[in-house]
Symmetry: C2
Subunit: 482 residues, 2 copies
């Protein structure tokens, strides 16, 4: 690099994140657990590009996502954008490859999506979604399976205290129908207000259904302007609950107008309840909640989201629902779909908060080859090659400072469990020294006395013939994983 | 969706690709094999966002990559772009997190990168790189390890016929120095010409080093305008070879001018040869080749790339080198680095061509629950739940057409190995029928006679008590994996 090149400040884009090993290693473990659950339910992988034609994306999710698109131009000067979810690209695929993706089809996908929203703690402009979808199945039996997946994912991650809230857009539609709210924009407005219940509380909902309110920052929030009787009807509807899913359905039957859409919605909820029971989904883990609306425009039937009662500040960590009309956007035939998305970044943040998920780790390295004095580099490489051939994840050290202290401090910084030490003496004698760095550390931490401290540090080190290198390192590693 | 919404044509951007299960499943197997090799050499994972500030990227890779950037604006109207490789973001990280990423540091990263190049077969505008890098180690012992990784990756994938070509920018610099070619733009021009040897052949190289030539399409390619004596010197240099790495170094010593840069470059090549020998890298797999230049501007020392002699049309499937000055772009201190990148899409295409890599598969599903007649959906879900609880990857079928033929044709299309069949009869009797679909298919394919055909199709089906469901399916699956 020439000296005239101006220095570039190293920085991450606002709302974006860099993930180092200590972030990624537990993340990968969580991804693998989730993937195993998805596969067990018969889902196979699928992947689409980050960029899509703008017309594929605009209008598919609603006004909010239209505004949040990262837009750009292709080399051919076409309007393109980064995808805002994995669902719309999946709908595109179904229309584009009808022969290869013959319905019914179950797929999972993991990948980054982009939304130019206001970033906040745990809210990023690039975040990872991990989705399952079933295309070509109308039955809510499949929605029950999706909900069962949501439960199994949490259980696979060792979390038992979670709730999957379940509702049905048809239930809300029946209510709105009964209240005479038929205009689509108005319906969407009511949906949006209902959806905020957990966040803003019932009194603010009441105000927003009526004349609106002023929020904490002093900004006016326009209301839906419903009359008082209708407001009370909506409020009592979203307040419906019960000890079991069947009880909620029974109460809903009373809260909804006695019209055909209500009967259809209630029948679906009963089928869904039956499916959940057949799949052994406990009443504690999946609850019917009429206040659940979900933000995206494309939902048409059951909707669901997972919340963590002990980590409410993270909101929903998974969410989804049935979208029976999205594929029609791309083809003349329609394919009913349902699915859900894990918000991986938020889920991981919540797991960290709960002390659940995978144990933290800074490295995958199991052994560091440490040199004392003028050891030929080839000797270091040979020892490493021997360990690696035995499947031991091994790092060599060729840092700037080659003294013992720097090398052991490197092992300490990255929490490498075992050091294999070679010096001129060791090489001459045909031996290696192997040091258990975790045991040494634990022992030293427990001891106050200086002499004992020194002894503990060395008691965990052995010198063995070179032929016993692999076996000894393997034994040292097994000590701690046991 | 309202009927007024215009239909959107489902299409993939030019130069981009959708990956369905049959593409992704072998891809995932290959990724896991490579990841295991990377980890064995002590590399830990790391991830950066797709988007970077424009000034982070522009000028880091050279004119070619500057032109190929997908540029856009952040919500704050800053100039940003999609990354064109994973190396520049890694250099940024080293400067941004000096405490967390204390050198020496080994990392691997996998992810998409974007280049607005001309797409072609196996050349995409979004493609996946899978990189390793070592930061903070000056010694070419580490370059030897990177080359050993490249070899082990190919061996792990079952490919033995490959060559890692190795050279050193310092060797080329010494040649240029001796030839009096000192001006940077001119040096880069010669590098670019040399780099094309494999693609265009020696006579075209000779022409481009001189007055230029006209390519096949009739376009003029300007020459470097070297004099004849210098051209012959360059030509004889890039023709240097030998049966072993040591022989190439010995020949290079004669071809290079007797100046300090030559001596330094040759010493590095000798060290590299020693490192490769210590790591048991065979002479057949890693060869020194003075004609290797590599396109990117940031290389400063050893450079390497992997080619497949039986699939030359795919070009290099991995490539890398030492870049000792890139981090300086972002900080006042310098950190020497080396690394390499697997071009995953190209590698997979080449593996497919060679019949190597992972076996193709269309689904992860092991068992499909098939229903005959009016089976309650809950029964299907229960059978599936039982299989899944035993770890068997199970799909239920709730497609549009529920007849037996549609269900078995679904299993056939996705190559699902086992069908679990339940009907009203089976439920009443407390039994299930289990059908080995692969065996049935194989048997039918081998038989011409109609009666034998029918028998073979049913001989692979058994009816067992419900309690033996899991055990029988497990046995059927084991038959074929054995």
């Amino acid at each position: 690099m020439s000296d005239t090149t101006p220095r570039v400040e190293p920085r991450t884009l606002k709302g974006f994140q860099d993930l180092l090993a200590e972030d990624l290693l537990p993340r990968q473990t969580v991804i693998r657990s989730i993937e195993a659950v998805f596969q067990r339910y018969g889902f196979s992988p699928l992947e689409t590009p980050a960029l899509e034609y703008l017309d594929t994306l605009v209008g598919a999710g609603g006004e909010e996502t239209n505004k949040a698109l990262f837009r750009l131009q292709s080399p051919e000067e076409e309007d393109i954008a980064l995808r805002f979810d994995l669902t719309v690209p999946f709908a595109r695929l179904l229309a584009q490859y009808p022969e290869r993706l013959k319905p019914p089809v179950r797929r999972y996908a993991i990948g980054p999506v982009w939304r130019a929203d206001k970033p906040g703690p745990g809210r990023f402009r690039q975040f990872t979604q991990f989705d399952i979808d079933v295309a070509g199945a109308e039955s809510v039996a499949v929605d029950a399976e999706v909900i069962a997946v949501m439960c199994d994912v949490m259980l696979a991650l060792g979390v038992t205290d979670f709730t999957v809230l379940v509702n049905n857009r048809k239930v809300i539609d029946a209510l709105l129908d009964g209240c005479g709210i038929t205009e689509p924009a108005r319906q969407k407005h009511v949906l949006r207000v209902i959806d905020k219940l957990q966040k803003v509380g019932i009194e603010n909902i009441r105000a927003e259904l009526g004349r609106g309110r002023v929020d904490d920052s002093g900004d006016p929030i326009p209301g839906v302007n419903l009359d008082d009787a209708t407001i009370e009807r909506v409020i009592s509807f979203i307040g419906v609950n019960g000890a079991t899913r069947a009880e909620v359905v029974a109460s809903l039957e009373k809260a909804l107008p006695d019209i055909e859409p209500s009967r259809e919605a209630l029948a679906e909820m009963r089928d869904l309840a039956e499916g959940l029971a057949a799949l052994n989904v406990s009443e504690a883990h999946a609850k019917f909640d009429p206040s659940l609306a979900r933000g995206l425009d494309y939902y048409t039937g059951p909707v669901f989201e997972t919340i963590l009662p002990n980590a409410p500040e993270f909101g929903s960590v998974m969410g989804g629902g049935r979208y029976d009309q999205l594929v029609e956007r791309f083809m003349d035939r329609n394919i009913p779909c349902t699915g859900m998305s894990v918000g991986l970044d938020r889920l991981l943040a919540a797991l960290r908060h709960l002390g659940a998920g995978a144990a933290p780790a800074k490295t995958v390295v199991q052994a560091l080859v440490v040199t004392m004095g003028a050891v030929p580099k080839g000797e270091t490489l040979k020892v490493a090659a021997e360990l690696r051939a035995a499947g031991i994840r091994t790092e060599t050290y060729f840092g700037k400072k080659m003294n013992m202290k720097s090398q052991l401090s490197h092992a300490d910084h990255y929490e490498i469990p075992v050091a294999v030490i070679i010096g001129e003496d060791e090489i001459a004698k045909g031996v290696v020294s192997i040091k258990d760095l975790r045991a040494g550390k634990q022992a030293r931490e427990a001891i106050q006395d200086h002499d004992a401290y020194r002894k503990a540090g060395t008691a965990t080190q052995v010198t063995v013939p070179r032929a016993e290198l692999v076996q000894t390192v393997t034994e040292f590693l097994a000590r701690h994983s046991a």
